[in-house]
């Protein structure tokens, strides 16, 4: 039976509450995954972190775009900053659920859920995201920025112990001149309401607006945790973004991604066919955007 539902108004208070329960309470965001999963009924107290002061929106703290743990998917999608300079994240968050879910579900919750195909997580990972972890030590509030990639132990297993730690915020360096990001995914209309393949890219072009100066590619499910495709990005680096290079990058991606059969979701063979398609679609979109971003931030 649930004994308490706390809605603290500061991060300090939230961290102290968790510490006070000593493991018997846990953090909850929008709860759109949490409350559906009937396995959590034994958690005696919940600490809702969606209304912490200064942590419920998107803001620009140069050089970073900072997203508070209370920021819902709707807020993220509606943020002009993210639309323009973290486009992949706006695209990914816009594809999750319907408005009722997006109005409540948070990106921090998406990260804490640690699913390898989580849309928002894949996009933030491609953007080079970091996560601020907060906890109470005695009366003191401790915080620490960690790379997003370190947050995952396995499918559904977070490196964060949500009975002790809070994902307080996320941040990334916004895309700048000649730079852009994009997200692409494919769903299957039967079986399970989960994406069967998602992919995000961040691309920076050279002065010639044709050569890839740097690229990040993430995909999932392509392993036990959200996957960063380094070989694929390597192939793109320093090359003009034409169909031959994209095809080569697709092959590299297939070689490094761990694709598998998941019952009622997708076969490995299917995933292997669509992954390069998603890569091409996302690269095309990011490439067009990067070219358009030529003078925007000059």
């Amino acid at each position: 039976m649930r004994e308490a539902y706390h809605i603290p108004s500061t991060l300090e208070e939230a961290a102290r509450l968790l510490a006070r329960y000593g493991g018997a309470a846990r953090v909850v965001g929008g709860g759109t995954d949490f409350f559906v999963d009937e396995g959590h009924q034994d958690v005696s107290a919940l600490v809702d972190v969606t209304r912490l002061e200064g942590l419920s929106d998107v803001s620009y703290h140069p050089p970073f775009v900072v997203i508070g743990c209370g920021a819902t998917h709707s807020r993220i999608v509606a943020s002009p900053l993210i639309q323009q300079r973290g486009t992949a994240l706006a695209e990914a968050c816009g594809q999750i659920g319907g408005p009722q879910v997006r109005n409540v579900a948070t990106l921090a919750g998406n990260i804490a859920h640690a699913l390898p195909a989580a849309d928002g997580t894949l996009a933030l990972l491609a953007l080079g995201g970091e996560v601020m972890v907060a906890w109470a030590e005695g009366d003191a509030l401790r915080t620490e920025w960690r790379a997003l990639a370190q947050m995952f132990l396995g499918p559904g297993r977070s490196a964060i112990d949500s009975t002790r730690h809070i994902i307080a915020a996320m941040r990334f360096l916004p895309t700048g001149e000649r730079e852009a990001s994009a997200f692409a995914r494919v769903m299957r209309p039967q079986g399970v309401a989960l994406p069967i393949m998602g992919l995000a890219v961040r691309v920076r072009l050279g002065e010639d607006l044709a050569t890839v100066e740097s690229a990040t590619v993430t995909a999932g499910p392509a392993g036990p945790v959200p996957f960063c495709a380094r070989q694929c990005a390597q192939v793109l680096q320093g090359r003009p973004l034409n169909e031959r290079v994209i095809a080569e990058a697709g092959e590299a991606l297939l070689a490094e991604a761990q694709l598998r059969d998941s019952p009622h979701r997708a076969t490995r063979a299917y995933r292997a066919q669509v992954l390069p398609v998603l890569l091409r679609r996302a690269l095309h979109a990011a490439y067009r955007r990067a070219q358009a971003a030529q003078h925007q931030y000059a």
Partner: protein, 920 residues
């Protein structure tokens, strides 16, 4: 407990709530605002949507305490001073309300959209309502209603609904009239079973088997009985009467006694002070099982040595259809195609989970409140289980949040009656979605072997079809469903030589029973696919080959019946063909800007019986009463499951008695107050109960005419009943006055009529197996993404022969809803079971069409009157859904060259087929 203070619909409210409570429960139970409905408890269906500080949220999983200090808007707050909000009015005007259960959620989601965007495009609407489901309307009318409401809110004139062309209406019949229950449904006032609360009411829960096949060794309920708050725990030992129930075969245990035969089997039931305590008690019941081998496939179940689901063996029924000389027919053929097809088990996904309330009255009778498709069958089965005469049981029908065939069998009716008797208190049993999914009968998964022979010109010479239907653990309506599947298996065509063998087979899967289309949905997929293949082999136009063979007046069906009238199939085909010409696109085409996609059309036809047929007496009784205030009431036990029967009956009574439509009330489904209208199945109610209402109304009019003739000093034949008056030339007397005069003369103004539909013949005896058929033709435009295998249906052109449109607005809703439901059958829906264990135990694992799947629908009505039908009408509930699936899969073939042989179309499979095709 914690203190919750909030503003609901502008009013400050406060309450002590449990910290774990969700907003939907608090709104419904603490504040009595039952307009907010709960469909799934998992944030999937969206029908519980309310606005929190203007933002739509799924209230079923929104912590109540999170709404502390917030402004909450629910459907009850929209109408002001009795004036409906433009959205509410537009939903009524466009027929966007059917069963009404999802209506509050759709309206609230739409309100949030219009608050933010006063002029939304169709894409904006589809984006906003993406996760707010409706199973009745197919969403077309919903989109139109929202656009209309937006226009009204912008101060523009209302946009009238676009309706299909139909025959010139009579005074009432044939007019597009709003549903009589629409206002209650858009304001949240409409009450479904779970909205009823009685003093001292207990809450019940059912222990389900959880394993597909086992012998019961021991049941120990002592710990559960000892739990504080528990009032009763019952097992099979507590069933005083019949241990089994069933609609056709009495094979389904009320509570299992020797074996469990599927995961959803009921083993014990509990009544307790709260639902949580009842569920806790279930976990304290000890059941020892001896697991038995599981059989989960109908073909395997017929093999010697297969595990036996029932003692008498696994074959429920072998159905045989024979016409002509099959061998001679194939010998005559120039070309023969053969194929195997497989359809999926599918789920009705009515948005209202099953609920029943039982209570014992002061005189010891048992009352059951339930939204059921067959109230009198409920009464029979409840009485039998209790071991009491039927008149000691009263079934009181509540509003029904969708049925589609899934609320014909007993769910909690018997259980709440048993628990009410055991406790002496009212008892409510509400299934969670997860329980509803694993418990109630589904659409049969059917395997087909099809062989079709034809002459070079396309004329069919012979068809050999074999069907194996998985009827699951209990018979339900499996015998009848598979009989319909078999007799319709050769399609709406005249075929000289036919042999069909169909096997309805028990397995340890969830039972299968009635589901809109009743077996014909499955058969149509197989035969229309085979005919498409035949047309392609013969290089014939797929429309031409169907026209050539189509049933028409004078044709003989595969069961030996002669079609004598009302066969509008050729006209349906012609209307679709004409629309296709106006589309002006080639059969297969591509678009320059989307090189990865290919577009193509597919075509299919269908027919569906009206009424029970096969020799079963098909009766309905209706009582009509006229009152001195000028109103009339029509009474019958027939289910309003969203299809619009209340409107049909009101129209008919208003037409015949000459009162305004608004003055004709309809009282349904109370076995003490309303006579038996028979089951709401087989597309029969408009025809059978409609006729009963028409004939009862005519008789009452004749009786009143005799009185009025005296009053007006005019001959009876010259009187006109219209608009609430009885007229003779210039003189008139009010209808209510005539009723008052009748009463003064001691003449009763209440009478009933028992209508019996034309006699039919059992299968195998020749003659009319059915008294009427409805027909349809459809063309589907699909888009296939060659890179991902994703297939979408963009447009459906439909023509449906319904005999007569009694209410074109309601009819259009039935047609659009049927099309979208079976678009799901083709592309999205599959109830997945693994060795008898449902994988689909949540809505998140059953994808029915959302508003984003809704295609453009062009709908033509063909009215080839049935002489005996009311005003020429025949069945409409099922027919439109039947050709949709094969029209879509045939279009996918045209687009890709890949023949779909298994439903639903799997993009994963399709993409791999495309690749295999490319590679050789």
């Amino acid at each position: 407990m914690a203190q919750l203070e909030l503003t609901i619909n502008g009013e400050r409210r406060s309450a002590e709530v449990h910290p774990g409570a969700f907003l939907a429960d608090v709104l419904r139970e603490t504040f009595g605002l039952t307009g907010t409905k709960i469909g799934c408890n998992e944030a999937e269906c969206g029908i519980c949507t309310v606005l929190v500080n203007g933002m739509p949220v799924n209230s079923c999983i929104y912590p109540a305490l999170k709404a502390h200090g917030a402004h909450v808007e629910t459907v009850e707050g929209l109408a002001r001073n009795g004036v409906l909000h433009p959205l509410q009015q537009a939903f009524i005007d466009h027929g966007a309300v059917q069963c009404g259960f999802c209506t509050p959620g759709l309206i609230m989601t739409a309100k949030a959209l219009l608050d933010a965007n006063p002029n939304p495009s169709e894409d904006d609407i589809k984006h906003a309502l993406k996760d707010t489901y409706c199973r009745c309307t197919g969403y077309v009318s919903v989109i139109h209603a929202i656009q209309d409401a937006a226009a009204r809110l912008r101060g523009e004139p209302p946009v009238p609904p676009s309706l299909p062309q139909t025959k010139t209406p009579l005074r009432v019949v044939g007019q597009p009239l709003p549903r009589p229950d629409a206002v209650a449904k858009v304001t949240g006032a409409a009450r479904y079973t779970d909205d009823y609360v009685f003093p001292n009411m207990l809450h019940a829960a059912t222990l389900r088997a959880g394993i597909p096949h086992a012998r019961i060794r021991r049941i120990d309920v002592s710990k559960a009985r000892a739990l504080p708050g528990v009032h009763a725990v019952l097992t099979h030992e507590d069933v005083p009467g019949s241990k089994n129930h069933g609609l056709v075969y009495n094979d389904w245990p009320v509570l299992c006694y020797d074996k469990v035969r599927y995961v959803g089997d009921a083993v014990a039931i509990v009544a307790a002070e709260t639902r949580e305590i009842a569920e806790q008690a279930l976990r304290l019941i000890e059941v020892e099982y001896e697991p038995l081998p599981v059989v989960d496939d109908p073909v395997a179940a017929l093999q010697p040595g297969a595990p036996k689901v029932h003692e008498q063996g696994n074959l429920l029924k072998h159905i045989h259809v024979e016409k002509g000389d099959l061998e001679a027919g194939f010998a005559e053929a120039d070309v023969i195609v053969e194929g195997e097809y497989q359809t999926a088990t599918t789920e009705h996904a009515f948005l209202e989970p099953e609920c029943a309330i039982g209570r014992v009255t002061d005189d010891g009778r048992v009352e059951v409140y339930v939204g059921s498709q067959i109230p009198y069958a409920d009464r029979r089965q409840v009485a039998a289980a209790l071991g009491v005469p039927e008149d000691r049981v009263r079934i009181i029908g509540t509003l029904i949040g969708g049925g589609f065939g899934g609320k014909e069998d007993i769910a909690g009716q018997i259980h709440v009656a048993l628990l009410a008797r055991a406790t002496g208190q009212p008892v409510k049993m509400l299934y969670r979605r997860s329980e509803s999914l694993i418990f109630h009968p589904k659409r049969h998964a059917v395997r087909f072997k099809v062989k079709v022979g034809a002459k070079r010109n396309g004329r069919f010479t012979a068809m050999r079809i074999e069907l194996w239907g998985d009827t699951g653990a209990y018979a339900s309506l499996g015998d009848k469903v598979m009989t319909r599947a078999a007799t319709h298996a050769s399609g709406p065509y005249e075929v000289p030589n036919v042999r069909i063998d169909c096997y309805a087979v028990y397995t340890n899967n969830v039972p299968a029973g009635a589901f809109r289309g009743f077996g014909v949905t499955q058969s149509a997929f197989a035969i229309e696919s085979a005919i498409d293949e035949l047309a392609q082999r013969l290089r014939l136009d797929p429309i031409h080959i169907r026209r050539l063979n189509a049933l028409r007046v004078g044709s003989v069906t595969n069961t030996g019946a002669v079609i004598r009238e009302s066969a509008g199939l050729l006209e349906c085909i012609a209307r679709v063909e004409e629309s296709l010409k106006q589309e002006g696109t080639p059969w297969v085409f591509r678009k320059a800007d989307v090189p990865n996609k290919v577009y193509a059309w597919g075509f299919a036809t269908a027919y569906k019986n009206t009424g029970l047929g096969g020799g079963a007496p098909d009766r309905s009784e209706v009582e009509v009463e006229a009152f001195t205030d000028g109103s009339v009431e029509v009474r019958t036990s027939a289910a309003e499951i969203g299809q619009g029967l209340v409107g049909v009956l009101a129209s008919i009574a208003a037409e015949e008695l000459g009162v305004p439509y608004e003055r004709a009330r309809v009282l349904l489904s109370d076995t003490d107050l309303t006579p038996d209208g028979g089951p709401t199945t087989a597309s029969r109610q408009t025809y059978v109960t409609g006729n009963a209402a028409r004939l009862a109304s005519i008789q009452l009019r004749q009786r009143l005419a005799a009185v009025a003739a005296e009053m007006l000093d005019a001959p009876v034949e010259s009187l006109r009943f219209a608009d609430g008056w009885v007229r003779h030339h210039g003189r008139a007397v009010a209808f209510g006055e005539v009723v008052a005069q009748a009463h003064r003369e001691g003449i009763r103004t209440r009478l009933s009529h028992l209508y019996e539909a034309p006699k039919t013949q059992p299968l195998g005896t020749g003659g009319d197996m059915h008294f009427a058929f409805s027909y349809a033709a459809q063309a589907a435009l699909v888009e296939v993404d060659l890179e991902t295998g994703e297939a979408r249906c963009l447009k459906i052109i439909s023509a449906t022969d319904v005999g007569r449109a009694i209410n074109p607005l309601a009819l259009q809703g039935q047609i659009e809803g049927g099309i979208v439901m079976c678009l799901g059958n083709a592309l999205t829906e599959e109830f997945i079971q693994e060795k008898g264990v449902p994988f689909t135990n949540r809505f998140a694992r059953y994808k029915m069409p959302s508003i984003r799947h809704t295609p453009q629908i062009i709908s033509h009505i063909v009215e080839d009157a049935a002489a005996e039908g009311p005003y020429g009408a025949k069945g409409v509930g099922e027919i439109s859904s039947i050709p949709t699936t094969p029209a879509i899969t045939n279009a996918i073939y045209a687009a890709t060259g890949v023949r779909v042989r298994k439903l639903p179309v799997d993009q994963d499979w399709l993409l791999r087929q495309l690749r295999a095709q490319r590679e050789g």
